[in-house]
Symmetry: C5
Subunit: 323 residues, 5 copies
């Protein structure tokens, strides 16, 4: 679906144009065209491929989707694949894909399985004609920057979840199954995000360290800034992952500790019951001559002995922390 298609000159929009008119504007030296597609059909992609003379391998990648995030150069044109991550109502992370083709005087963005559009990016770009004059390179930067900025809230969310998990681990009862499930789920989400952010960071890093394709001329400072943000995200994810690993180990230790606390309790209560039972057993024997049985206070004394023995045990268990 065609979302938007506009031509720019000198940093200012000159017209919303029709698909058919694209080639007219692209052929003008001082113009550039910015097209946005959403969930396009194969036909639409092929049409654009023809219009902008895109490399067949890049078209194929855009068509099939499920590429890893990357920035490739084909004969002076940049082809950028990014993944978007959006939380649905249940808090599950759903990933989409954004492909950007950036040539000398055109930008084509293709958005798949992603709700959030780039209208705001277009608006911000159009409001800054000085920068927009840089053309395709600046638009590419603005799009990558927008995608990267949308990763940032995930870090905060992970940090919050981690903190919540830590609190539950130490204050509440550690040995709940849900705690382990949450640890695992957080780990899975984290891995998913890292799997999306890390390759993009590596690609952007190349853009600001030596390799400067013509399209991005004069934009190095900007790509370095995006790279800084991406690196901050990657490092934060790695930090949380590291803590998650420790939390998993600590959780196991807490479970084992809990087990030994229970075993202590079990042993203590077992002893408290075993002593009276043993004494009662002894006075339940049927020997003909058991003088205690015929003493006057035999029974209450026996009960007392049971009680006193249990009290002594109870205090010892208490003092040694078993009960």
């Amino acid at each position: 679906m065609l979302v938007n298609c506009a031509a720019y000159r000198d940093g200012r929009k000159i017209a919303d144009i029709d698909k058919a008119a694209i080639s007219d504007y692209v052929s003008q030296e001082d113009c550039f065209v910015w097209v946005a597609l959403k969930n396009p059909t194969e036909g639409e992609i092929d049409e654009m491929g023809h219009e902008f003379d895109l490399h067949p391998l890049a078209i194929e990648d855009a068509r099939h989707g499920h590429q890893r995030p990357k920035i490739d150069e084909y004969d002076g044109m940049l082809f950028c694949v990014m993944h978007t991550l959006e939380s649905d109502e249940d808090g599950l992370l759903r990933s989409g894909e954004v492909c950007v083709f950036a040539g000398r005087n055109f930008v084509l963005s293709i958005r798949n399985r992603s709700e959030a559009g780039f209208q705001d990016v277009r608006k911000r770009c159009e409001s800054d004609p000085l920068m927009l004059r840089h053309g395709a390179g600046f638009v590419l930067y603005a799009l990558i920057d927008a995608v990267v900025d949308r990763y940032l809230p995930l870090i905060d969310r992970f940090d919050d979840e981690m903190e919540y998990l830590e609190n539950r681990l130490f204050t509440a009862r550690a040995t709940t199954r849900s705690n382990i499930e949450d640890l695992y789920a957080l780990k899975r989400d984290l891995t998913k995000v890292l799997h999306v952010v890390h390759p993009l960071q590596e690609s952007v890093k190349k853009l600001c360290g030596g390799w400067t394709p013509g399209v991005c001329a004069g934009m190095q400072d900007y790509f370095r800034d995006v790279n800084d943000h991406l690196e901050r995200i990657v490092r934060s994810l790695e930090r949380i992952r590291d803590m998650l690993l420790t939390a998993t180990q600590v959780n196991l230790t807490l479970v084992a500790l809990d087990e030994s606390v229970i075993t202590k309790k079990l042993a203590s209560w077992g002893a408290l019951f075993a002593v009276p039972t043993m004494i009662a057993g002894i006075y339940g024997m049927n020997f003909a001559q058991m003088p205690e049985l015929h003493m006057r206070y035999g029974y209450p004394v026996a009960l007392l002995v049971m009680l006193v023995a249990d009290l002594i045990l109870w205090r010892r268990f208490r003092r040694s922390g078993w009960l």
Copy 2:
């Protein structure tokens, strides 16, 4: 076994030729020959080695098999070793080997212990004369691309198995022996695939980053595309491996948790039996003077006491989650 042997000129097949005629075509500047062998005898390999003037070390590698995946250059000829992975009926991964010799105007592919042939690759190549005009370099690309594409379904299979394992881990009973066995088996398969894919990725990466042997001139974009696919596979495998490690740790924690749940139950039931047994023991004593024994409702009251004590305990255990 000779599967196929054809000569091409200008991107088009000119003839299926006989082994003996190979040298005639190879000697022509504008021709190239594409030979495919399957499970060849040592004699056949030597014959081809003589026909194409292959390097003795490469011939030896092809003859012995069990090489690691690699791409080596010998005097302008490329020698590529790849491993194939095919699931047999029991779902077990069986590995085979594909060696490709790519010279200036010939390609020789040797397939060992692998069911899936490359007839479809040949057909696709022949249907695209524009590309096939690139000669041996393009055929080499097409063969590597085909082998790599056959790795992709493995990732999906691993992802499915991982998800299945996770579900069993948290919804069903974690403490089954089969769960652990499946985790281990998945890990083993994953390691096997990584062991096959990773060295190939490193070799292909060199082909698209600086080192450009003459045979592959003008094919960099294509090898970079294969490299992208291989890198995506490697990263996905590493991601799954990471989750597997976490799953193994989580599994251990769940087993320990299960153990402590059982111990709690054991302790609770033990107490529920111990209380009446103790009381019964007391009234089983043979003291001459035990007034309760002669009370009218002594027996039912004793039973009631037992019942009430157990009910109280039961409720406390229930509330604290031990039962």
Copy 3:
């Protein structure tokens, strides 16, 4: 808030100047201006940005905060972001941020959420006119050096805490929940510091290995010295982290060992109660013909048997270390 604003010539302070006068001094070739802000408003930052002609991306980074530590170059100006770590009364680490802009003849430092100022740095610099003659590069070095020096006590603190934890692990009872909590807290603080120090070290390393921006000309030896200190900190943190990991594993083993000690005790005491109870049970049977019951010393002998059996068991348990 403007903390300080002074102009220097030839390594000596010439005047405390007003904000408005900054541009007058900056325009003089042989002067340089050193401005310090604390928790500035957006307006103050913009004002300075205008005064010193700072790059918009750097201004934006300074304004938003929460950047990762880094040193970037913008058109001959260096932009350095560092994080400060200060322990509050509860021993918790609170992080602040220090941004430094260092141009040809100015230094602007912005301090956010950090108590400790840089008045002492300024004093030390002013007392060494020979070095201060190097201008902005030297001031940048002095500021980084001061921030790094403030990290050093953290290492000692971590080392002390680690040693304290180790002692508790082996001398006192390992199985206390607080021990695990302290291990985890130390790990979290350590990760926090590493997350702050490591990126700074990577940035400073670049400054002393090849990349020499004009501002830092002639200061390489000094930045290498800072780098040495940073590397020592990073390595020490990694060493403590490594020991922490081992301590966590050892803690688990100690908990498991404790558990098995308790189980041994439980089993031993269980046996010591079970034997008399069984014997008493036997002589509590109501068989008509049980000769022992009518023997003269039947009862005391039975008690003796119980006692002797328990004594034998007791000694065996003692000898095998179960009790």
Copy 4:
């Protein structure tokens, strides 16, 4: 002990020569001398050092032994240290050392604590005069290749042991002490081999990637082949090590699982005994009025109740997998 000492010209052996005659042949431009020592005395090494004018540091390394595997260059001479690994009768790995000095026209190999000689290498070299014409470089290659080929069976042995361990882990009882011992022993052997192979691979890699000492001129393809073999060995060792780690973790989980199975059995059988004991206790009470005691079928009904209660429990435990 001098094993062998021969002079070669043009790829063919011209004579077995005497130690004293070495310098005569070395001084001839077109000759090269190949000397093999076994467990030499210090005197023999010094003698050779004098004969071939070896670097004092290399001589010292050869004399002291216990160097790490490496290839060093001294003034145009290569000094190569390799470790051999031989299984003794008990299956234990014993390591020996092979030092090779390769100069422009001589090769000196020194073998220490290693049974397997290099007579077969010498024979194979002498049977291929075309290659042997390359002189010292080729002999060095042949010797390294021979040592590397002898590592290969270790991989197969480790793979077999690993498979055997895996089978025992899942089919037989996991919780045997011998299983853990075997895991540990395999890990130790593996580490030993990796410790020997990895540095050699790094040294050989340098020989085929850029650094080409004069001695090895024209032999790059051959050293790359050796490097390929070494890399395959290293990767296989790392793969097995990875599986070993997983097996260790899985083993722990299986032990924990076993423990919880036993605890379940313990709890179940405990309950099956506790129920009749409790009932018997109740009817062992001495209350004056216990109507059941005087019923006609009181006793058999009590027994029946015990039996039925146990049967019900038995079925429930069975169904929930506790028994």
Copy 5:
């Protein structure tokens, strides 16, 4: 404290000189001076700094101590920091520091908190005038070589301790607290040594790979030899560390295994007591009609039944390895 101060010309000592005379000799082109200090005061260091014109940053590092091992170059002078490790009577590792300043024609070594001096190094150097002619570079090499050689016995000690631990782990009882303590202590010592050796190796490596300061001209082969030794130490430490990690994991498994063996014993003995107790309980019931009670051999038969039941159980437990 000044330990030694001598002047050398042409590889031979010409005189033990006075501190005041140093500058006289240093100013002579063909002389070099070698000074050794031990635990110097700040004044002595400053004096030497003045005498040899040392860089203020290097002086400061030498004065403060607690630097990480490193080799820095200041205007043609090398500044080398090494750590010494000496076992005290209790087997504890105490670390000292050795700083070496090596200029064109002087060497200044400063030893702190280290017992072992370098008199033997000086003697060995003076006995080899051919090498000593290389001047400061050779002395620097000799000092580093001496420090490195003193690390070697630590490896043997760690290897011995590791072997001892392994033996205890598998032959004796694994579950002793002292075993875990020893594992931990070994790990701590190992980490300490690695922390000292690794940075030194990285610094020395740079000296033999490309970076050749004037002072070390012609000494590359010698520094490569030191580097080889250091790398061997680092790798050995990493190998032992790897085995330690495995040993820790194996220890945990053994503890868990022990626990399950104890639980099996506990369950078995529990059953052996529970059966007679249950039977005795049944015949202790007071039912009016219990025919067995009045049979002639009722009592001995009951005892026999108890015994037989226990014997059967005993054999089953024995056969399944529970007892």
